[in-house]
């Protein structure tokens, strides 16, 4: 279409070069973990595995995929992640949109209430006591409700609403008799698909990756999120000393490095696939022709 300037070409090369290096830097460590998960246990113990499997075998995956509790945890985690994301997006929209209306009385108070909680918190013990008093302990709701309200995401959404939706669109809609909520549903949301997709991703990944709450709130193994199981698997190895000393020295109380690696892959791949699927929403929201005047 347009003639390519030589400076453009140099720029292109620079871009691709930088990106390829960055991509490799991010990919290689993952490759390493994958290789570990496909290697033999002794090769891994001897720390002989770098980028390619040594003693290729699928034993670790056989164990992990054949573990019913892992599979069940996977589905349970997907389930609470979806619920969490829906609730989170609902709350974020309900919070952000009214705050974009500059004439809203109490706007700054509402905003400050949320911002304050980004920096101040009661602490793990009072939060634990609260969850217990609400009767949410050891249920899936304690993994969904407490963190669903994210002031951080709300601020991002509010900023996007304010800066990327042209005021003129809203003005003309108002003149046509649209109520505030109509504007939200008919104009603002459809034009915000990129940021809505982003925040959904933030919610989903946020829920998927956390386990600190489940670590203390959940005692029923059927309700362990996948990352909690992974945390145990990765951390439980501790030192040989603790293992042998405390576990009576029987045959199978080790957590082989191979199993750790396979579990990391198992717990991480599902969520990684969400973004490529969401990428189609990252095109601009539908703009109805040029807005002149």
């Amino acid at each position: 279409m347009m003639k390519k300037k030589p400076s453009d070409l140099i720029f292109d090369i620079f871009i691709y070069f930088t990106l390829i290096i960055a991509v490799l830097a991010c990919l290689l460590p993952f490759f390493h973990i994958m290789s570990v998960s496909l290697s033999s246990s002794s090769a891994v113990m001897l720390q002989k595995v770098s980028l390619f499997p040594v003693g290729l075998n699928f034993e670790a995956y056989r164990r992990v995929l054949g573990d019913n509790s892992m599979i069940r945890s996977l589905f349970f985690t997907i389930y609470i992640t979806v619920l969490f994301t829906i609730l989170g997006m609902f709350l974020t929209i309900c919070y952000a949109y009214p705050l974009t209306r500059k004439n809203l009385k109490g706007r700054n108070v509402f905003l400050f209430l949320g911002l304050f909680t980004l920096y101040f918190g009661g602490g793990i013990i009072p939060e634990y006591v609260l969850i217990n008093d609400l009767g949410l302990m050891n249920t899936m709701w304690c993994l969904i409700l407490p963190l669903a309200l994210s002031p951080y995401n709300m601020i991002i959404l509010k900023t996007f609403f304010t800066n990327s939706i042209p005021e003129s669109l809203e003005e003309s809609a108002k003149l046509d008799g649209c109520s505030d909520i109509g504007i939200l549903l008919k104009i603002v949301l459809p034009l915000s698909t990129p940021v809505l997709a982003t925040l959904s991703l933030f919610f989903a990944v946020g829920r998927w990756n956390s386990f600190q709450d489940a670590l203390f709130y959940i005692s029923d193994a059927k309700l362990y999120p996948l990352q909690l199981k992974l945390y145990y698997i990765v951390n439980a190895s501790g030192s040989t000393e603790t293992l042998v000393m405390e576990s009576g020295g029987g045959v199978e109380q080790l957590q082989p490095e191979v199993i750790r690696a396979a579990s990391v892959m198992f717990a991480t791949i599902p969520i990684i696939l969400v973004y490529p699927w969401l990428q189609k929403y990252f095109v601009k929201g539908v703009m109805i022709g040029a807005v002149k005047g």
Partner: protein
Amino acid sequence: MAVTNAPNVIENRKNLSPNNKIRKFFIYLKNNYWLYIMLIFPIAFLIIFKYIPMYGLTIAFKDYDVIRGYGDSPWIGFEAFKEVFRMKDFYKVLRNTLMLNLLDLVVGFPAPIILAILLNEVTSKWFKKISQTILYLPHFLSWIIIAGIMYQLLSPQTGLINSIIIKNGGQSIPFLTEKWHWLFTYNAIGVWQSAGWGTIIYLAAISGINSELYEAATVDGAGRLRRIWHITLPGIKSTIIVLLIINLGRIMGISFDRPYAIGNSIVLEFSDVISTFVYRIGIQSVRYNIATAVGLFQSVIGLILVLLTDYIAKRFGEDGIF
């Protein structure tokens, strides 16, 4: 649809007697009740899950023990704070926290922006999609895993990189074992872990820029760099500023996992931070009031910084958070 009760009509009324004020208020409510109904949900969640446990902040002022219970724990005022401020180590970890965070800010904040811009300039769709997905992979690894990989890569003798250097007759580089090198390593690993993920929000913001602006600029003969400078960057300016403000507010806080996993006793002078300090003194020694006091200190500074930078941003004519 009714048009008569548009808000700007109300604003023009000159009559402001008490009755009219109340009437004005109710008309305002009638026009905007939807907005308040919407707000009920998030505010309810805020109050229940964030503000009810807020009393925990006062643990910093009490000689708190879980066994005695909150009510029976005596009030000690600022004693816990005084105790912390008297500890020599506190100032060391404070300095380290600020140092590590500032470094992260200076290097780690622009990194995703630059990456996002570069990605945006890529024309090949499949390259863009694949590299985006790969770039954010490190975000999903826990720091323990990352530390394990880093040790295999960067150890002074047996690490992959150094063993190659030594074999070729060079001197090993103390990535992890000399405190200034470690600073660089800590920072680089942090950028590696978070930059890819950080591009997502900027890419979303970039996609909100009107494409016509680009077409118009190209027609005017602007090259790549000028388009980036005059269109892309200004287009995401508000996002950048908001994120900058929030991150500046976090300069006193620091996660636990990253310095704990990547740090080691050789470089403890730099790797000991507020979070590891609190873990030792507060949590492990079961002195929750110390832990809370330090946390409160961090929070207050954080909030002041946020409000301050928001104010400064406003003075420069930008939209801040408020």
